[in-house]
Symmetry: C2
Subunit: 233 residues, 2 copies
């Protein structure tokens, strides 16, 4: 971005007044178009989502037994969400993944969130989607101790996003639906573009990525990243 | 980067001459330290490295039999390198990965290149290293049809890098050992920082990443990326 602001400037060339004026004008244009994050200094903790499944009530009963309710094992950072004691097996055309964690509470429909790497193992290509958007996504067979469910759709690769509350949003100068760039330090650092901001009073500040993104960027749970450029929705 | 150049400038504030001068001076400083890639428009094809192993002569014989030589199955883009017909099994403290491709020709020492994701499956944490730098890296058990080898070191996660020839290097305004930023388009786009440039007459232009990086950025073999900022070695 810093570079593309000055496409006509070449090293070693005399910096004349006209060119300086052009640079300043382009800098000002860029600054008005790209809001500077007022709280760019504030870090955002990383939450790495391993493969998991959200189950409907009906599917919970099919997989774990009639009248079954999920057992809370660990509270997640987002309020009300929890990792259940229960796990399932995913069976795809090319492979099987065991021990896939069920996240609670139950939802209106079942959704499987896997990484692209998992997709290659299973033989299913998960489309990149925001959570809840499963229309037209591939299905898979889910197996539990009491039965199996053949999903006709519901397997996605969750698009990275940042959860935050209104106060965070004000500090970062973003709104619900903003797309931002997230900057990562370290030897595998760089930037994630097109990161969706989700603002809700119940949310806790957290940058959600999947295991491919975490491993590619050298990130683990609790690592801190920075919000970079903001693009309005 | 665009942001950090102007730390004291706030939106809505009057741009006075002194401030403009400071901006220009910082822009010039940044431009002298960060060379613009003259051929930024030229794309670089992606080469995704799946997990693989380079074997020494001795280990080839232990795993596949006395006097055994590797069978060329597919030439790789880098001249002289090939995917062999042979595969091995990696056995780590927490898991097993079968069908790991042997790459030829044989090398002076055995080196296993896996992703961080593979590392979690195996129970081995591969350090991020340039190829050939295995000192102090963890070992693993490698199993072939005729025997097994217990490596005391050699398991790494290969650091991303770009292969190119002198002519490419001139166009990109880089030299062997330069560190550059690589820009990726698309919904999972962004930038990879700290990418090592390797220049050699035998090389073919290619951006080598592992499967975690490919999956995280939505890249596959042959996709094109752009070289961004250049930092000297």
């Amino acid at each position: 971005m810093a570079i593309s602001l000055f496409p006509k400037v070449e090293r070693g060339e005399m910096m004349e007044q006209k060119m300086i004026e052009e640079i300043v004008s382009q800098v000002l244009a860029a600054m008005s178009g790209t809001k500077q994050a007022d709280a760019a200094i504030k870090g955002i903790p990383v939450g790495v989502s391993n493969r998991h499944i959200h189950l409907s009530d009906e599917h919970t009963e099919t997989l774990f037994g009639s009248g079954y309710t999920l057992t809370r094992e660990k509270e997640l950072k987002q309020v009300g969400e929890f990792a259940a004691k229960e796990t399932v097996t995913l069976v795809g055309p090319k492979g099987v993944i065991r021990g896939v964690r069920v996240l609670g509470p139950v939802r209106k429909f079942t959704q499987v969130e896997i990484s692209r790497t998992d997709g290659f193992s299973l033989g299913v290509i998960p489309p990149l989607r925001d959570s809840g958007s499963i229309k037209g996504s591939p299905g898979i067979v889910v197996v539990g101790p009491c039965g199996a469910v053949t999903l006709s759709e519901g397997v996605i690769c969750a698009a990275r996003h940042i959860h935050m509350q209104e106060e965070d949003a004000r500090q970062f100068n973003v709104t619900d639906g903003s797309r931002v760039t997230v900057t990562v330090d370290g030897p595998r650092g760089g930037t994630f573009a097109n990161v969706l901001v989700r603002v809700n009073p119940s949310f806790r500040l957290e940058f959600h990525i999947d295991t491919d993104e975490a491993n590619a960027a050298g990130l683990k749970n609790g690592d801190m990243v920075k919000l970079g450029q903001v693009r309005e929705n």
